[in-house]
Symmetry: D2
Subunit: 387 residues, 4 copies
């Protein structure tokens, strides 16, 4: 049974993840996970924290001599900033008086978390609600990616728009609409956008927001290639692949919207323009000349790329803070607090989106193919393809 | 522990649902659930099936003399059409030769389900992948709604657009943007749209599609009022309220897109225009003059209406069918099959959306407040409000 | 994902079960399930209710023309006694005044359930806490049994002792200790005991208890043959096969004790007398000349019969009732209530034990081998055996 | 939602646990957890490993200044022996040739785990199947214990017998059968047995086994005091408190048997001697003069001590090894492998049993009372007691 938990405060000693249910004998490389962590830390528009942290995992269990054991895998990412926070974030009581954070930031969990958990010090909330937690998911996703690659599945992301600056014509979603070259360009762009001119325009937009003490959101696209026909099911509402993709994407902090395939666009036209015709090729394989369904029909993968578009709201922490409330006094105040933050995290959010999609596909794949060793899972997979 | 399962084929004898974990002593009325089932069956653009079925539940367990017992609740909805399908859908083997369905409809589970489950007869797929299954969820939601009303929580839906025909200016999302009168108008409109002129325009659009043998999708909005601050948590990715709302909405058949609050719109502007300022009122209550967050901040409800907008693709079953494949011969064909269907289900999908939101809120509420009897749960809830 | 829920009150209209996650294409026969239900209703020492009920299932979903569809399966068992209880157990409010049950029976959920759920009428508790609920599990188990038989797995039970009357020398637990002939004798014995003389002694003991207005418990043994090496895992505490067997057996009403293999006996000797030596046979197969482990080592099946011994306390409902309390008055009373009941249910409990073991093995088997159709699951299973 | 995962190999760098769902604001002390870890490491009959390890936790998340935050709690226990195993157990590939373990020990997961996971080196199995993993559970239980103590619940264990040497007359199970003084004596006994003479006899028995190169099992009892009426439910088979206690106890490595309350003894007599009469005291409280039910009736706690007796088989690793098989050659061998081990772990297993019971009670308590802060949970609990 594939499952995982993540833990860790933003300024605590480390992030810790336990991942269970990956088959034994799978070759896993720390370097592949670390590369994903670095990709998450990059992107134009990031703040000072990204310069402090050089995220890298350590395997503390479940992996031996480069292969999974079948036992739970522990991954740990040290917080290099911890040295500056040891007293403020110590697990044990400390002598020094700590000044509590009491001014809440609009758009964050500062207010809701304080009420829910009965905290007087908003620090007790923001340490976990911080999107530093997404590094945990990227690490787990980096592990899943290594499983998926055994099955010929790869997951990519790129940025479609930032604060309204984006592609002017809609991009296609068939296999042919993407290329190795394109993904290389994405990885080289500080905006994770293949189009160099667009990258520059986006950067200019972010700079403008920064000058205004403001922040930007945007839209990223995640795409999975090589997903076999048959993952997910309509049998029960919570087992649909669309359900799980929805769950995964909407779980990312700051995400407020998502689409599978043509999404909202399908609501503006009629059925005959939307549905993807199925063709049987001469070699017996299946194809769809269009991919408006984004690779999922009836809650099940249909062999086309899984395409998801995800809307990220602007970061709530503004250099020119909005009015708010001080929870200690209960008074309305003109400016909430500013805590070091980024101006735009859309490229990073895309990397988190990749991880979440990799996680969802791993779960669905292991559910269908079973297996306790990678040989067994692969054998089951191959015999299904040949059936 | 709140959980439920649904079962039932579209042309089988009935739909059956088991719901567990509602507190004991809750007054529940069959009529309230039936009213929701009727609302799901209505709306302009529905096909012939809706005339056959008069959905109504029967409680088969868990309710005695009008109150819940604390034991699992069984709800059953008879399929009145069953008499015409007894042989074709019999659980036992039958003598007669059954002609299998082999031509798959684009946009449906026909193809993906057949490959996944190894079915030769597509009927074995479509009976469960049919959106008749959503009646089950509406029934479960109708039960949850009765729990929520004890806590002052109500859930509504209305249609924002059909095939691009919709409100021309964006609607607000604060409490004040909605009214009892508006919801009454929604319930009276065959399009579930408060604006009478818009209702007529939508109907005209559907008629046009129908004439073309085509189908329409659209966008509906679900809103929950009275949700207390503090449901859901950022503590783990799968416990966020946004995660669960995402899961719930993306699980609805034909849904391809969703937004919480201002959604994609937030990606087109900057942070200072998006985040909802918190105010403390003189009576000690909290308010936000705007509700771009759609009632969820940091994965937790913030006391404002929960607002979700959901995009429904056009129905895949076209009266002028698209080209497809015959699975029996493996040959490409010019026209897939037509099975009796609707032209537009957006109003009905909105009712399903209400049910799913009611389910999600019930789960989150019981998780926070616990309790084995409604008195206990209410007592815990009230003491939290006063804390 | 294999999961199921059961529902239904003892004197409600029916018992309802939804079972999800069995592969498609599996041949299932109603008659096999009904046979198990009849076996549960039999056994010497049962009361009048068993004469009223002739339990039989109806498939209401998930099965078509004798084969599973892959969609959730609904099973329903009518309560024939319902006609006598329609008013007292009606889901809707009724006009007539109902006299509440207020005198609690020691050993039952009468007291604990009333306090937990805040019920004034103990009837609201006992309708679900009644062991009639176990018919639901037997039905689910009867379905699982049909899956398992495809993999050569069979599950049996017999009674070892009743009120201390039982086998005088311990029985072995290797494959050789059991035979087809023995199981035939078990099925023919009203005590579900292969030894005819012992059957008579047990009956005499039950008669004696009955004369005294008293009740008997006893010990049954459940055995599963043909379980492949490798089900369950030590990887996490809740995934051990022993954990799941423990869960399953201790969930049976009135069960207060259980042992896997030699159980408590292993605590009275030393390791060299307990552990089962592994041998490799000339044909490459594995064997253990003893089976003190009861087929589970390190939380994983080892290829030997799974053997579980389970202790059932005497039925709490005594014809000569024990002193108790009247919850309405809060007064101590000399005699609690008598509600029609059995004198001894150990043979029936054994049939429930079979069902629970079949359920546990089904879950563990599907987890390991995956598959959405029975062909796929079998193919995966066979290729594992050959690896 | 309370849940946890454990991870870590026996000779890896550390054990890691993530615990989610404890309310915020709970005071937790590392020292209390460490004391439990020390109690697990003690007991007469332990081997050399216990001298190397001085288990102590480090909180890596979820706790700040001595109180829980409501976010997931990470606990880590370093393996001091790791320095000697860095190469053999390294996560990364190493240059040196590693000699695989291939001779399997009867009674362990060595054989079953190797077949299941397809491992050639039994080391890949035994590192996780080792009962070192139980230290993880003791740590989690030590955290739960601190929650439970807020509700007046305490959990203890003691040893009833070792290799047949034990109490000669059965011990009672009512509150009065236990005393503070008795538990103090237990904590001071190297056998965790209150009776000093019995302690000596047990030690003599262990010494004898040791001289023979053999091992001993035994029986321990776990008792929880102060559990309120109403935890667990008969509503669904897997929510019974007995189910969860069964799951918890049977999950402990080497446990082969368990009883709740009088257990198997109840099967040897009749109902009138077994069931615990309920009395209402003059102060309005409830009592049962006997406790044969072990505190659970109808799957729900009844206010009496929860009493569980658990049978632990002798340790499988014998200094005079049993015959076995070499998996590399497939040959039957006269002696399996000896790896440093204990002679008797029954006292330690009792401490693990305490932890598992504390975990089960924590889950059931939080399910009933809800709450996101300890104040909220306590408030809900107190108002239930007064209802």
């Amino acid at each position: 049974m594939f499952r995982f938990l993540t833990a860790g405060e933003s300024h605590g000693p480390c992030l810790t993840m336990i991942v269970e249910g990956l088959p034994a004998g799978l070759e896993v490389e720390k370097e592949i996970v670390d590369a994903d962590l670095r990709r998450r830390q990059g992107g134009y528009g990031r703040g000072g924290r990204m310069k402090i942290e050089k995220d890298a995992i350590r395997f503390l269990s479940g992996v031996r001599h480069g292969k999974t054991l079948g036992s739970p895998i522990t991954l740990q990412v040290e917080n290099l900033d911890w040295v500056n926070w040891e007293e403020r974030m110590n697990a044990a009581p400390v002598e020094a008086e700590m000044e509590p954070v009491t001014r809440v930031r609009p758009g964050h969990a500062d207010f809701t978390g304080s009420v829910k958990y009965g905290h007087d010090d908003v620090r007790n909330v923001i340490e976990r609600s911080s999107s530093r937690e997404t590094a945990s998911r990227v690490a787990v996703g980096g592990l899943c990616r290594q499983l998926l690659s055994q099955f010929g599945i790869s997951v990519h992301s790129h940025v479609l728009s930032v604060a309204g600056v984006g592609y002017e014509t809609p991009r296609g979603m068939t296999k042919e609409a993407y290329s190795e070259e394109m993904w290389r360009a994405v990885e080289e762009s500080p905006m994770r956008t293949a189009d160099a001119a667009l990258t520059e325009k986006m950067i200019a937009r972010i700079l403008e927001a920064k000058r205004d003490g403001d922040t930007c959101g945007g839209v990223f696209e995640v795409v999975a290639f090589g997903v076999p026909i048959g993952l997910g099911t309509f049998s029960q509402w919570d087992r649909r692949l669309s359900t799980r993709v929805g769950m995964a994407m909407m779980s990312i902090p700051s995400v407020k919207a998502m689409e599978i395939g043509a999404g909202f666009e399908t609501t503006r036209t009629t059925g005959s323009h939307v549905h993807d015709v199925l063709r049987r090729e001469e070699d017996g394989s299946w194809s769809h000349p269009t991919n408006n369904a984004g690779g999922i029909e009836g809650g099940i993968s249909n062999g086309e790329p899984i395409v998801v578009r995800v809307g990220v709201k602007p970061i709530p922490t503004l250099a020119h803070p909005l009015p708010s409330v001080d929870l200690a006094t209960g008074e309305n105040i003109d400016q909430s607090r500013y805590e070091r933050s980024d101006v735009c995290v859309v490229p990073a959010a895309g990397v988190v989106g990749e991880a979440m999609l990799a996680i969802v596909l791993t779960e669905a794949l292991l559910e269908k193919f079973g297996g306790d060793s990678i040989e067994e899972t692969l054998r089951n997979y191959r015999s299904y393809l040949q059936q």
